[in-house]
């Protein structure tokens, strides 16, 4: 089985390196096909491993010793257990589809080859992240996906906004990574090892305050990667990247790395339920907070990005409350329908010639039936309607919150579910139905190429049926993760399900009703709360004003005063002294014997003085 581990891990690397050879060349179709095939191979290996893990249990592979310095022993080891294999399957499955989709999407881009190289490099980093059996490997993958994310957000680097967004994402992640690094240092300091099994065995007998600190620091890392408040602004801006990137990285896989970290460290977080509850509260807050921003936004991709944020909040609620398998389940189903949603949005963008304002669309159903159906399916799944995937996972999370007695959290999530349903269908209605706005802008939409649609089919299918795997999934994953007992009577459970479904359906119905009649009146746009939401709670402005501006002023100050006037001046002064001495002493060599004699005597005087005053150490 070991070879499947290596295939799953290194096929994406091979793909990335091979394609990178042609990165500077004009578009070559085979690079895309090669990359897709290799990622597909990785996916097949992952599925084989899934079956194997199901039959024979976890697989632990130690490839080689990696770092062996002093007391630090870090092997290059991989663990394929129930959690990581689920992540692997999810990642490779979505990646494969995104790769195939990208062949169509990036068709006209002149950096076609480079794109596939980056994309495969991302998959490799993500695989390292989920497969590593120690925190160092995880961190390497963590940074690797951060790097690839930067490369891909800034893929169209000639666009200023894209490179700005890439830098923003990178810097935000760096801030969070500092927290994560602190956590790792603390782990090593306290335990002396980075291996998961050793660490988790050791934390059980450790001082609770230290465990709390470690947990907090690790969660700060997770917050950055999963774009939780207050480090959330980068995710919406990251939509500057190509849409397949948004689908793969900023919806399905990378942003869930934070959730994965919390799940992976579940044994640590079960020891500190107060931190867990804090995580859950933050998650619930973000779930509502992000959903509310999605309500009014007019940018197609940003709406989905906020929705991603909101769903990540749901996952953190589950993970924070100790329902790790539910978090993982929602992670998986979310990956399917959210990437489908994004890829559908990509089709729409293509059709609309990169127009993103949904107010300018409308009535696209006529020209893009397949995309419309797929996106509707994804939206229904996102809204959480039976029997679609989102229903099962999201409903479970609400149940967990209720079961935990955290009624505020439950209520927040409940409201969030309603908002989710509303904004999903606001999107669908404005894009695919209603008045045709696009002819006014001279755009003639057309459906994407057939193979692109076929590539999306599996995702559509999974978005519909993934929920039915709930019980087998639970059985499989809980061999590793702790069980989560729900102590609710059947009546309450049914009432919850009914309530959630009711609010979701009413949200959908409201959206359909309002937007089929031409939407809300313009006067609403002058209300304070609308302004608040459309400006994203003024948080980007706040950051710009209270963090970026002082920092710019400080940097400018340091540049102007300290760097130029002290550092540069010092360096210049050294040069000037040397040059000046040279100019001055050059006159000594004027060829005049009399002056030379004089200098000779000066030298003699100096030597005499030395003879008197200099006493060598005895």
């Amino acid at each position: 089985m070991e070879k499947f581990v290596y295939i799953a891990l290194f096929a994406p690397l091979l793909s990335s390196l091979l394609v990178a050879l042609f990165a500077a060349r004009p578009k070559m179709l085979f690079t895309g096909i090669l990359a897709s095939a290799l990622i597909g191979l990785s996916m097949v290996a992952s599925f084989v491993l899934l079956i194997d893990v199901n039959a024979n249990g976890a697989l632990h592979v130690k490839m080689m010793d990696w770092i062996d310095a002093g007391n630090l022993h870090v092997p290059f080891g991989f663990v394929v257990d129930q959690v990581s294999v689920i992540m692997m399957v999810t990642v490779t499955l979505v990646s494969t589809i995104v790769h195939i989709y990208s062949i169509g999407y990036m068709d006209h881009d002149k950096s076609f080859n480079r794109f596939f190289s980056y994309l495969s490099a991302f998959v490799f980093s993500m695989m390292i992240l989920v497969m590593s059996d120690n925190f160092v490997g995880l961190f390497i993958g963590w940074e690797g996906v951060g790097l690839c994310s930067w490369l891909l957000i800034g893929f169209w680097y000639h666009k200023h906004s894209a490179s700005w967004a890439a830098n923003e994402a990178f810097i935000m992640n760096r801030i969070a990574d500092l927290g994560m690094l602190m956590g790792l240092f603390l782990i090593y300091w306290q335990i002396g090892s980075f291996q998961y099994d050793i660490v988790f065995a050791a934390v059980k007998s450790m001082d609770i305050t230290i465990v709390t600190t470690i947990g907090t620091f690790l969660f700060i890392g997770a917050m950055g990667k999963s774009a939780q408040f207050p480090l959330h602004t980068w995710l919406a801006d990251a939509m500057e990247g190509p849409t397949p990137v948004s689908a793969l990285i900023h919806a399905a896989t990378m942003v869930t790395a934070g959730v994965y970290l919390v799940i992976r460290c579940g044994e640590l977080y079960t020891l500190i339920p107060h931190i867990g509850f804090a995580i859950a509260s933050l998650g619930a807050f973000v779930a509502v907070f992000a959903a509310s921003m999605a309500l009014v936004n007019n940018d197609l991709k940003r709406i989905i990005a906020y929705s991603t944020l909101s769903q990540l909040g749901y996952m953190f609620v589950a993970a924070g409350l100790g329902a790790y398998w539910i978090a993982l389940f929602h992670l998986m189903t979310h990956a399917f329908f959210k990437s489908l949603l994004f890829l559908g949005a990509g089709n729409v963008m293509h059709a609309m010639h990169d127009e993103l304002n949904i107010k300018k669309m409308g009535g696209l159903y006529g020209s893009m039936k397949a995309t419309a159906i797929l996106m509707s399916v994804a939206s229904v799944a996102l809204a959480g309607i039976y029997p679609f995937a989102g229903f099962f996972s999201k409903d479970k999370i609400l149940e967990v919150a209720f079961n935990h007695g955290a009624y505020y959290l439950w209520f927040a999530l409940f409201i969030g579910a309603g908002m989710t349903a509303f904004y999903s269908f606001r999107l669908v209605m404005l894009v695919f139905f209603g008045e045709k706005e696009h002819p006014k802008y001279g755009i003639h939409p057309h459906e994407a190429q057939p193979f692109v649609i076929y590539a999306l089919m599996p995702l559509g299918l999974l978005a519909i049926i993934a929920g039915f795997f709930e019980h087998s999934f639970e059985g499989f994953v809980t061999r590793l993760l702790s069980h989560y007992e729900v102590h609710l009577s059947h009546g309450t459970e049914w009432a919850l399900i009914a309530g959630t479904s009711a609010i979701a359906i009413s949200g959908i119905a409201f959206a359909i009703y309002m937007y089929s009649r031409g939407g809300f009146s313009k006067s609403l746009e002058n209300r304070a709360c609308y302004k608040l939401l459309i400006n994203q709670y003024f948080i980007p402005k706040l950051y710009a004003m209270y963090i970026m501006r002082p920092f710019t002023v400080l940097s400018h100050f340091i540049w102007q005063k300290i760097d130029v006037k002290i550092v540069d001046a010092t360096v210049d002064m050294i040069a000037k002294i040397v040059y000046g001495t040279g100019t001055k002493t050059r006159q000594m060599q004027n060829g005049n014997l009399s002056d030379m004699l004089r200098w000779m005597i000066v030298g003699m005087v100096v030597l005499l003085a030395l003879a008197i005053f200099y006493r060598p150490m005895v």
Binding site: Q589, N590, G591, N592, S594, L597, I601
Partner: protein, 100 residues
């Protein structure tokens, strides 16, 4: 009683006079005179030390210094004459061919 120190002080004074000459003079012939003074000053010192320590080495050194001075004068004067024939001047300031 005249001690060694007296002689050495005298040596120092004579040597400094020689140094003044070396720095002050720009006429090459005068420069030669100054170097003679330097050599003689040192000779006095050597002989005095030789006397007060009862060691003949000092006198030997003086002897050789005199020999060296004599040959220096012979060669130096030859060169000086050659230079004078070329340039019509033995002023140091006309000797600037080494200027870079």
């Amino acid at each position: 009683m005249i001690t060694l120190t007296h002689y050495l002080v005298l040596t120092g004074i004579l040597f400094s006079i020689g140094l003044v000459g070396v720095m002050r003079r720009t006429n090459l012939l005068m420069l030669f005179f100054s170097t003679e003074i330097l050599l003689n000053a040192v000779n006095v010192g050597f002989v005095a030390v030789s006397k007060y320590y009862g060691d003949l080495s000092g006198q030997m050194f003086s002897f050789f210094i005199i020999a060296v001075a004599a040959s220096e004068v012979a060669v130096g004067l030859g060169l000086l004459i050659l230079w004078y024939k070329r340039n019509g001047s033995i002023d140091l300031n006309s000797l600037q061919m080494m200027k870079g």
